[in-house]
């Protein structure tokens, strides 16, 4: 409903919604030439006006754009790194503008904080206003009902009081809030619209708070587990761990689980050969010392234990490898997880033998192997060693070996999947060539000069990596979201409207009934509804025969 219309209709049209009024004085640029308090009030009124809310909404969407086009730290740090290396000129500018962290940047936060302050500043007075409207009665009929968007009239022999009584009963039966105001009945319906609107805007605040709580208190860590191994939820067991600034370690839920087996199936034929079809990780888990449970974790189906969710992220192979020393004693025999580098699970990694190995002279030494693994080898001698299929059809493990110092004692953190060969010497063959060998399961590579051997056992395990995360506030966010939709539906689909029925005795002693309806400007149903109401009332107060002069009724063209 427009401002002019509201003024036109006076009291009757006032407060049909609680939308803040756009006071022309407020829109004047320059503001008041007043005291600090005056400025503050001016600023507050600006901030809580619909116009500024509109501009802030627009700025918010504009501000999110760069974050979708420029790599973000919060999404992919490696990509940000790569971008920085490529763009010398842009990087310092982007960094100044916080364009690698748009969604936590000062300027983006400023926009949404202003928006939400504006929202609160908008909702609170509107709620009071609305409560006031609920407690007061619908305003009386305007002087000239003919000026309303929908209008009808007829003459009847029924007494005016009886018409009003019937109208009151009819409107109340249809759940209008109605009362007798002088010569007319005033009624209003559709308060749920306003309720819905307030609910929606409040829900937005709930969602924002839940989102903020989630970000501040969340924890998120990754863990790679080979079939048969387990994990218990303490900080030291994580491979990597991130948490919000208000998170504390005590909040980690006490539970543990073991990976019983991982199953991956792939399309076997056709153009889509190799496309993954299922990934399933079978686990056994327990809370503290509680009983054991079995579950299957799939890509879209995390396991939830006491609010902590365990997601299946990726998988790969861990060939079982046995290393023997010069005397033939087994030094180590275990699965070695290797990291996939392509979609057919071609994998690389390092096998490190730190303790227990002695060379042929009985001296302590360390061994390191660079490992390259393909689950399905294309066939001997055929070009590069890349996997042709992600399933285990023809596994081959290629190795090159080193001995010397792995450098793990230097105190620097080391990537378990990479070999630091700076203090190591590569094993060479009899003619000085680099020793490398492709092994099939069960095959062994002998190290030169009786330095021992390494065997690719007849067993390849799978590993799965999991993301273990907890984020409080999810329930609130969901509740807020549901409430927001409910409120929105109410606010957009329910019409708030007023109906007046005036019945007065005309000059010739016959009663003149006038009915008019007023809704918000988009109401299409109002004339129909008024017509229906009029028909009902008309049945109780039938039309009197036409006098010679037609009073207000309009003629058809």
């Amino acid at each position: 409903m427009s401002k002019t219309e509201e003024r036109d209709l006076g009291e009757a049209g006032a407060q049909l919604s609680t939308a803040p009024t756009e006071n022309p004085a407020d829109q004047a640029i320059g503001g008041p030439t007043l005291s600090a308090v005056g400025w503050l009030r001016w600023f507050w009124r600006q901030l809580t006006s619909m116009r500024v809310a509109l501009i802030l909404l627009f700025l918010l969407s504009l501000g999110s754009i760069p974050g979708s086009l420029i790599p973000q730290n919060s999404v992919d740090e490696l990509k940000v790194q790569a971008f920085k290396e490529q763009h010398d000129v842009l990087t310092p500018i982007y960094e100044k503008l916080q364009l690698f962290d748009v969604y936590s940047s000062v300027w983006f936060s400023a926009v949404y904080i202003l928006l939400f302050v504006s929202l609160i500043g908008c909702i609170v007075p509107r709620s009071w206003q609305f409560v006031g409207q609920l407690r007061s009665r619908p305003p009386g009929a305007p002087e000239r009902l003919t000026r309303l968007p929908a209008y009808t009239t007829w003459r009847t022999e029924t007494e005016p009081e009886q018409v009003r009584e019937a109208a009151l009963a009819m409107l109340r039966k249809r759940r209008f809030r109605a009362h007798d105001a002088g010569d007319a009945v005033a009624a209003e319906k559709g308060y749920l619209r306003e309720t819905g609107n307030l609910l929606f805007h409040v829900s937005l605040i709930v969602m924002l708070l839940a989102f903020a709580a989630g970000t501040l208190f969340k924890s998120e860590g990754g863990k790679l587990i080979v079939e048969g191994d387990g994990f218990s939820n303490t900080l030291t067991q994580y491979d990597d761990f991130k948490s919000g600034s208000l998170f504390s370690v005590e909040e980690l839920a006490p539970f543990s689980f073991e990976l019983d087996g991982f199953t991956g199936t792939y399309e076997k034929s056709g153009p889509q050969r190799g496309t993954p079809r299922t990934y399933e990780a079978a686990v056994t888990w327990s809370k503290g010392d509680g009983p054991e449970h079995r579950s299957v974790i799939e890509v879209n189906k995390p396991l939830e234990i006491d609010g902590t969710k365990i997601y299946l992220l990726s998988h790969g192979y861990a060939p079982v490898v046995t290393v023997r020393d010069g005397k033939g004693n087994v030094v180590t025999s275990e699965p070695v997880p290797l990291l996939p580098i392509d979609s057919n699970v071609t994998s690389t990694g390092a096998i490190k033998v730190m303790d227990g190995y002695r060379d042929k002279d009985g001296k302590k030494d360390q061994l390191g192997f660079q490992a390259f693994f393909v689950p399905t080898f294309a066939g001997a001698g055929e070009g590069d060693m890349f996997s042709q299929f992600p399933g285990l059809e023809y596994p081959v493990l290629a190795l090159t070996g080193y001995h010397g110092s792995l450098g793990v004692n230097a105190g620097l953190p080391q990537n378990v999947y990479q070999l630091d060969t700076r203090k190591m010497e590569q094993f060479k063959g009899p003619h000085g060539e680099i020793l490398k060998q492709r092994l099939r399961p069960g095959e062994t590579m002998k190290l030169p000069d009786g330095a021992g051997s390494i065997t690719f056992e007849n067993e390849v395990k799978e590993w799965a990596s999991f993301q273990i995360s907890q984020q409080p506030g999810n329930g609130w966010a969901l509740a807020g979201a549901i409430a927001a939709i409910t409120g929105l539906v109410g606010s957009l689909f329910i019409q708030r409207r007023r109906v007046w029925v005036r019945a007065v005795r005309g000059a010739d002693g016959v009663t003149v009934v006038e009915m008019a309806g007023l809704g918000r400007s988009e109401s299409a149903k109002l004339p129909e509804e008024l017509a229906e109401l009029a028909a009902t009332l008309n049945a109780q107060a039938p039309t009197a025969p036409e006098p010679v002069e037609v009073p207000v009724e309009g003629a058809e063209k």
């Binding site: 153009p271 979201a481 017509a531 003629a555």
Partner: protein, 363 residues
């Protein structure tokens, strides 16, 4: 190859034939619409000018302005008490145009033929989408080809449903059929992807919920955008007339036959407002799905960001409508910006931006 796989390949082929057939029928519908517009141009209606240049009536103080019952209009004439409607203050009271056929009988005939052909093409296309779904044994929304074909099917479906419900939307016929042909052309030429099952990450019932509502919202937003664009043209036409200008003959012929700018504006608003809650739901469903698949319900991934931008843009549009100073053309521009955001989210993000949602299936 198993027997099942062979049937699937057959079904996929049938689906392709159906899509091509629907394109052929849409093309016929396109020509029928052109005939409708051409024949309709002979009519000599000029109600708009008459309504706008007539001496000012209904000024303050006079009795109610009477409207004759319009087809599809808001006035209800009752047997006994007649309800009289009065245009909102400040709004122009202009009658709707007669439609593309311009009130001519032959134009109307071609228009009806066009609608019938559109129904046929719609059925063919829908059958194509369904057989594709059967061939892949899942919801047919795994890549952009499937997304595009489903999208245009839904657009036409919504349009036909509105027609069936007796709404005055036949004016949208030509622009819709044209763009549907364009969409299908792009789909079969550039976006075509072999029929295939889904990768595990897309295999979730949230796919059904999230993607189906996303497509539906897009289709309805598109109808709203068509209404908005036509509103802008028609509005400038009416403005020109009201200011005593004389629009060109072609503009007059075309725009005179469209509904009044107020009706178009109202149509666009209703359509956008009606689907906004569903769009909100779509984003929330997507967040729940992301929570299951990736361990976080909101991660500012490009697709998520653009859904959010679209949502905020439509919210801005709805606010604009509620704010006195921003109604009309300004709000219409906002609605178009919002739809552009939706389009970019669909085409742009899949093609130009590296997103987790990179299921486009185009290289």
């Amino acid at each position: 190859m198993t027997l099942a796989a062979a049937t699937n390949a057959n079904l996929a082929e049938i689906s392709n034939y159906l899509i091509y057939s629907s394109m052929a029928v849409y093309t016929l519908a396109f020509f029928a619409h052109i005939a409708e517009w051409t024949l309709g141009s002979r009519s000599k209606v000029a109600r708009t000018a008459a309504a706008l240049t007539a001496p000012a009536r209904g000024a303050a103080g006079e009795g109610p302005k009477i409207q004759v019952k319009k087809v599809g209009g808001g006035t209800t004439v009752l047997e006994k008490p007649k309800v009289v409607t009065r245009a909102a203050n400040g709004a122009r009271d202009v009658p709707d145009g007669p439609g593309a056929h311009g009130g001519t009988e032959s134009g109307d005939l071609y228009g009806r033929i066009a609608v019938s052909l559109t129904v046929l093409a719609f059925l063919l296309e829908a059958a194509g989408v369904i057989s594709r779904a059967l061939s892949v044994q899942r919801a047919p929304w795994g890549n952009m080809y499937e997304f595009s074909t489903t999208f245009s099917t839904v657009v036409v479906g919504v349009y036909l449903a509105l027609l069936l419900a007796g709404k005055n939307v036949r004016w949208a016929g030509l622009p819709l059929v044209t763009t549907v042909l364009l969409d299908l052309g792009i789909a079969v030429t550039w976006l075509y992807t072999e029929s295939d099952q889904l990768v595990p990450a897309l295999d979730s019932y949230w796919l059904w919920i999230h993607v189906s509502t996303a497509i539906f919202c897009g289709a309805v937003f598109y109808l709203g955008a068509v209404g908005t664009v036509l509103y802008l043209f028609r509005d400038s036409y009416e403005n020109k007339l009201a200011n005593g200008g004389r629009p060109g003959r072609f503009a007059t012929s075309v725009l005179e036959r469209l509904p009044a700018s107020a009706s178009l504006d109202k149509f666009a608003y209703r359509v956008n407002a009606a689907v906004f809650p569903l769009w909100t739901f779509t984003i929330i469903a997507g967040a729940i799905w992301a929570g299951d698949a990736w361990g976080r319900y909101w991660g500012w991934d490009a697709k998520e960001v653009w859904s959010f931008i679209t949502w905020v843009a439509y919210a801005a549009y709805l606010h604009a409508r509620a704010t006195a100073g921003w109604k009309g053309r300004k709000a219409a521009y906002l609605a178009l910006i919002a739809f552009a955001c939706w389009l970019f989210n669909y085409y742009g993000v899949n093609m130009f931006v590296n997103s987790l949602h990179s299921y486009a299936g185009v290289e």
